[in-house]
Each structure stands twice: as C-alpha cells, then as structure tokens.
Amino acid sequence: MILDKKVLKEQKRRSIIRRIKRDKWLYVLMIPGILMTLVFKYFPMYGAIIAFKNYNPMLGILKSPWVGFEHFKEFIFSPNFSVLLENTLKISIYGLILGFLPPILLALSLNQILNKKIKQKIQLILYAPNFISVVVIVGMLFLFLSANGPINGLVEKLTGESIMFMSNPTYFRTIYILSGIWQGMGWASILYTATLAGVSTDLYEAANIDGANILQKIIHIDLPALKPVMVINFILAAGNIMNVGHEKAFLMQTSMNIPTSEIISTYVYKIGLQSGNYAYSAAVGLFNMVINVVLLLFVNSITKKLNDGQGL
C-alpha cells in the first residue's frame, strides 16, 4: 500500500514535469508579462511599507526606521480627517445612488425602439461623451458655468444675478455627479442593452398572448433578465466607493471650493507629491485602499446572502 502511494506520487510528479517541459515555450511567452506585473504592481505593494516608516531619503525605504502606525494615527486624529472622509464618502455614495439607475432606464428605453438603424444612431450619439477626456470635460464645465458662459446667461435672465458655480463649494458635488452621469450614462448602458438583446422573443410572445402591457413586460421579463448584471455592477461600484476619480476632482478644484472638493485621493497627491511628505501620504493612501477592499468583501458577502449565493 505504502509503495503504491509512493509510486503514484512519483508518477504524478513525472507527469507534471512532462507537462511543463511540453509547454516550456508557453511559459517563456509569459515571462515579460509576469516581470512587468512583479515590478510595476507587486513591488509598489512592498513599497507601501513606507507608510509604517519614518522615511529618510538618504537611507531609502528599507533602512529608514520603523514607526508602526504613527502616520495612521496622525491622519485619523488630524482635523482634516473627518472633512476628507465626509467629502469622499458623500461624493461617491451620492454618485453611486444617482448614477446607478440612469443606464438601466436608458437600456430599457432603447429596447423599446424597434427600428434598428435609428437605435444605432441614437447609441452613436449617446456613447460619444465617453470618449471625451476629463481635461476637456472639466474645461467645458468651466466654460459653460463661467460668469459669462451660456448657463449663467440663462440664470441671469431668470434671476438677474449670475452664480459662481465652480468656485462655490455648495455646487461642487452636484456638478461633479451630474457631469459624470452626462458623460458615462450611454456607455454604461451597453452591457444592459446587450443583455436585453439576448432575451428570448418567446417570452415576449407568451406575454403578448397573456395580454401584458409594456410596463408589465418590463417588470416581469426585462428586469429579471438584467438582475445579474445589475448585481455585479453594484458590487463593483460599491467596492470602489473610496476611489473617487481623483483626476476629475483634482481638475475641478479651485481654491474656493476646497471645503467640499478636497477628497482623500487629491489630498494624497498634494501632501505626497507636492509637499514631499511621502510616508504620511502613503499611509493615507493605504488607509483608503484597505477600506475599499473591506467594503468590496462586505458588499459582496451581503449581496451573496440576498441573492441566493450569487456574488462576484
């Protein structure tokens, strides 16, 4: 018996070696990709230990003295902390809630348009903003919302006064989220549109025979078909809650709207790369990422329970 096991093990080992030898070129092909991932993705993860050190450029990351959770404590007890956390959470939670439904409604709407050519042209137009760069989007916001821009032209006619949209902290979130929906709604609807295109026509025919109207068909056929995609999109979006697109927030920041526009990721950039406070900034970044991963796992496990074991 013992001999048999040994023989079996030996055979297995040989067959693995044979497979590796047979596929040696396949492994060679993966070397550049693996190296790039190690260097540019895994090495920075290791570099993140800088967050636990008192970084001294002369000594380098490795030799700088450890300080444990000092930087984290400093951040959490700093007066900035609550404002940054509030700004980050508010902008992303509002964005998640307000941005989640429009693409779904758009897909349902487009699904009712039966003329294929017209539908394609509409999609062509609605997807276009997705290809405009953040810099141009924010540039357009500044132009349209400036004192002599077209929006204020209207506002002035109605109220007699112009509003300084971009420098007023009250409007930052609204502008950020609405422009995001404007830009991303069409593109985000592709997946839903494709899912609806895959729904069997038999279902609609059966519903027609039963005398269902359009709303009933949407509720009983379309929405259940969309549910799996909705769940996955929601989990991914919720898991990204702390990752507000810093590129856009950063561009939209003016010295006046800082009270609402400063979020954790723009703060990391400022204290790290602009003020050179690497270790503290890395700690803030790490704090952000850990919360994100925890959120993703948490939302995923909750959805799994609510959704009969279906998560990511």
């Binding site: 540019f40 540039g139 359009i214 890395a282």
Partner: protein, 295 residues
C-alpha cells in the same frame, strides 16, 4: 412585432419613451454642438451675445491662434507618439500573456491567473509607485508613460476569452506539422485574433490619448508634455501662451480671445477621436461585450 398588437396604453407609453430618448439625445448633443459653433465665433460677439447662427459673426480666428502656438502642435505629436507606442506595447504583451493562459491544460494556470487578478483589487498606491518610477530612473522619460500601465488584467481576461473560443484543432494540427508554441501563436493564432487586437489597440489608444495624470507627475520638461497637459494649462489653469493671444493685445481683448481659444482647442484636441469614432463604434461595443464574459 406587429403594430396592431399594441394597446392604447402601450402606444401612449411608446410616445412617452420616444420623448425621453429625444430629450437625452438633445442634452448629449447640444453642449457638443455649442462648443463647435462657439469655436467659430467672433470673440467679441461670443462674449457679449453668446453664439449666433449669423455667418457674419463667424471667423476662424480661434483656430489660427491655436495653430500659431508651438505647445499645441508639440503636445499633439507627443500624444500621438505616446498613444501609439503604448497601444502597440499593450497589444503585444497582452497577447503573449493571454495565449498561454487560454490553454486549459497549462500547469499552474490557475495560480498564474490569481497572481494577475490580485493586482485588480490591491495595489501599492500613488506614492510607492511614484518612488519606484523615480528609483528606476524613468522620470522624465517616455517609459514612465508607456511601461507601467501596459499590462492590464482586464485586457488579459478579454484576450484569453477570445483565444479559448478558437478551435483547439488548429494548434493541434500545427503541432503535428512540427510548429512550436511560439510559431503557433504568431503564425496561426494572432492572424485569427486580429479583431480583438484591434479592439485592444483602440481602447489603449483612446485611454492614453485622454490621460493626463501620469504625465503630470512623471514628466517635468515642457518638451515632453502630451496634449492633455497643454490643454489643462489653457482650459483650466487659464494660461494660453503669449504666442496665441499675441504680445501687445489689450487686456479686455485678451480675455475675449482666451475664451475663443478655449473652444477651438477643445475641438482640435477631440478631432482625432471624433473622426475615428463612428467607424470604430462597433469595435468598441465588441470590446465591452467580450470583456463582460468572464472566463
């Protein structure tokens, strides 16, 4: 479906729906059209009256000013260079990494895939990545722009799914003919994978063309700035160069010109994508759809 199958209620619903869609199309297209029209306006009219459809108020002055500026043209060329090399590299690395992973009998495939997928959820963050690029001596070089992001796990998943769908018999037949795996990939598989390579190339190109953040932190010298950074100076930091506005222009006139120049710059910078876009729309869709099928 037959029109007669709709009830009165349904017909009304369809009309409401058409109005909603029309509204969405309008709010999408009107701002874009506004920018294009404004870019052709006479600066004084633009500031005082807004856009007008009267040809007498039109001029190409804004475009002349923009092209008089060296920074825009240099940024344009830099962006072309970065986007093109980044996309080529992305497609190449993605293909050679995804092909082995598409082979279900590859030993250690799951472990290697996990190695890649982990990087989708955790990372080192901005500062450690910056310090790495700095220590590698890549600051102020094109490498900082094209190397770190070239391998993207999402792309690998897309390409792997595509390869898995190709018939296994093809590579078996090539093996019998004496080809090794590298020959199979380049002579048999890649020609078949042209559509997906095209999709990945377009995605990478658009992404790099529109990116500014990496260039902002890694490239210091003005000669290396991509178009988006030049745009940021003009559009957001309100610093159109002297070449554009002209050295001895009055303050008020300068302000008007600056406004006009902004509209023209937006149009010029978006032109390559706007021209490409309608031709490539179906490929963009394809990329999203293939990417959504998780293997």
């Amino acid at each position: 479906m037959n029109m007669e199958m709709y009830s009165k209620f349904d017909k009304r619903m369809l009309w409401v729906n058409r109005i909603i869609v029309l509204f969405l199309v309008l709010i999408t297209i009107v701002p874009l059209l506004y920018v294009v029209i404004a870019s052709f306006m006479d600066p004084t009219t633009l500031i005082n009256k807004g856009i007008s459809l009267n040809p007498a108020d039109w001029t190409v002055q804004g475009y002349k000013r923009v092209f008089a500026d060296g920074a825009i043209i240099r940024g344009f060329i830099n962006s072309l260079l970065y986007s093109f090399s980044f996309s080529l590299l992305t497609v190449f690395v993605t293909m050679i990494t995804a092909y082995p992973l598409s082979r279900s009998d590859l030993y250690g495939r799951g472990a290697i895939m996990t190695f890649f997928v982990i990087t989708m959820f955790v990372g080192g963050g901005l500062i450690p990545t910056y310090l790495l690029i700095r220590d590698l001596g890549m600051l102020d070089t094109i490498w900082a722009i094209i190397l770190p992001g070239a391998l993207n796990v999402w792309n690998i998943i897309i390409a792997r799914t595509y390869f898995s769908a190709l018939p296994r018999e093809l590579s078996e037949a090539a093996t019998i003919d004496g080809a090794n795996e590298i020959q199979i990939l380049f002579k048999v598989m890649l020609p078949l994978a042209k559509p997906i390579m095209f999709v990945l190339f377009l995605y990478a190109f658009v992404g790099q063309w529109n990116a500014y953040f990496d260039a902002m932190i890694y490239l210091k010298s003005p000669d290396l700035q991509p178009l988006q950074l030049v745009l940021r100076n003009i559009l957001i930091q309100n610093q159109p160069s002297q070449d554009m506005v002209g050295a001895n222009t009055a303050m008020a006139e300068m302000k008007q010109l600056a406004e006009l120049i902004k509209y023209s710059t937006i149009v010029i910078s978006s032109l390559p994508l706007i021209v490409m876009y309608p031709f490539f729309q179906k490929y963009f869709d394809k990329g999203v759809l293939v990417g959504s099928i998780k293997g």
